[in-house]
């Protein structure tokens, strides 16, 4: 084993998880290599020194704070579940609305006034029937009755209208 390979096994040697064959190889290298031996020794010291760092402990109110946040979450999710999840109340409500809509739409045709529609239809029909005559330019240009009509002077547009 060389110094570069020691980098790979130093931590496992430090925490004791190295297997016995590798351990023998590491220890053989440490016996021959001063810098690696110093480093391994100092790694062991650092490992022990880290034990001195004080623990950070939860405060007395920690559990209560977690419970409060979880309870808030639970109530929020139960409200959401009531709105989204399939429920008999929601099903009855939606079905009732559907039935009411269908009933309402079936009433609407009977309420229309038929007489006015017929009158408006007659006027429209006459206008449409005269359209070919009105649109024929030759007929209009040679229409004698129109030549007898006096030409009306154009009235100036009043300001403000």
């Amino acid at each position: 084993m060389n110094c570069k390979a020691m980098e790979k096994y130093s931590v496992a040697y430090l925490d004791g998880s190295i297997d016995s064959r590798r351990r023998r190889e590491v220890e053989a290298h440490l016996a021959d290599c001063g810098p690696c031996r110093v480093r391994a020794h100092q790694f062991q010291e650092v490992w022990g020194i880290l034990e001195e760092a004080p623990m950070v402990r939860p405060s007395a109110s920690f559990d209560a704070a977690v419970r409060a946040r979880v309870a808030q979450e639970a109530s929020r999710s139960s409200l959401w579940g009531w709105l989204v999840a399939p429920s008999p109340r929601l099903a009855v409500g939606v079905t009732g609305l559907l039935v009411f809509s269908v009933w309402l739409s079936s009433l609407q045709p009977a309420a229309r006034p038929p007489a006015q529609i017929v009158t408006a239809g007659d006027t429209e029909f006459k206008m449409i029937a005269d359209l070919p005559v009105l649109e024929d330019y030759d007929v209009l240009a040679n229409f004698e009755a129109l030549s007898e009509v006096p030409v009306q002077p154009t009235t100036p547009t009043q300001p403000g209208l």
């Binding site: 980098e7 931590v11 650092v46 979450e73």
Partner: protein, 206 residues
């Protein structure tokens, strides 16, 4: 008598089983997980963030996320790996988005209220053992600062390796890296600590 038997049975259940019971609507199992993991989580997050109030806030968030995820929970990994992965991600995100930067700076500068008082009043402490107390405090501050100044991933790796005594495969899963990459990360971290803690390692302060 019945209550005692129930608690013993509950304690004997694995974490995965407890979480599956939470999924089934058993709030008592969530309470057991809370009691088991609150101390390791607050300790880990406290050392990650350098502040106990922040650690508590993040640890509460971890438990809330677990509770929220209960309906989708599937035991694909060790429960410990899962919960510490959530904690690590929260800690790394919190540090990156700068929410807790002010607190970190104050801790790194070592500005404790008692330090400020001592600076203003300049009254020497002549009580027996005061010198040893100061030395111990300096030593503890040096250790804490050395760990806090490690790069994020190295710091998380050391904390999980040293204090949580996790296996390499677990730590690698938490940090989302290969085992060989993790060993390299750990080597560099302990190498940095060896240099930073040289005053203690060489016996100057100890």
């Amino acid at each position: 008598m019945l209550r005692v038997r129930y608690n013993v049975e509950a304690m004997a259940r694995s974490d995965v089983q407890l979480m599956l019971d939470v999924k089934a609507g058993d709030d008592a199992s969530f309470e057991l997980l809370l009691r088991k993991y609150r101390s390791p989580l607050v300790n880990y997050l406290g050392r990650m963030m350098g502040d106990s109030a922040t650690a508590e806030d993040l640890a509460q968030e971890v438990f809330l996320r677990i509770y929220r995820a209960r309906s989708q929970y599937a035991p694909s990994a060790k429960f410990t790996t899962w919960i510490f992965r959530i904690a690590t991600n929260l800690a790394l995100n919190a540090r990156r988005d700068g929410r807790y930067r002010r607190l970190e700076v104050s801790i790194q500068e070592g500005s404790h209220p008692e330090d400020d008082d001592a600076r203003v009043l300049q009254i020497p402490d002549t009580r027996p053992g005061a010198e040893q107390h100061l030395m111990a405090r300096d030593r503890a501050a040096l250790i804490r600062r050395a760990v806090e100044e490690l790069p994020e991933k190295q710091r998380a790796a050391v904390l999980l390796h040293k204090y949580e005594e996790m296996d390499y495969d677990q730590i690698a899963a938490i940090l989302n890296c290969s085992e060989s990459a993790l060993k390299s990360i750990l080597f560099r971290a302990y190498e940095t600590l060896r240099v930073k803690l040289a005053p203690i390692v060489n016996g100057s302060l100890g």
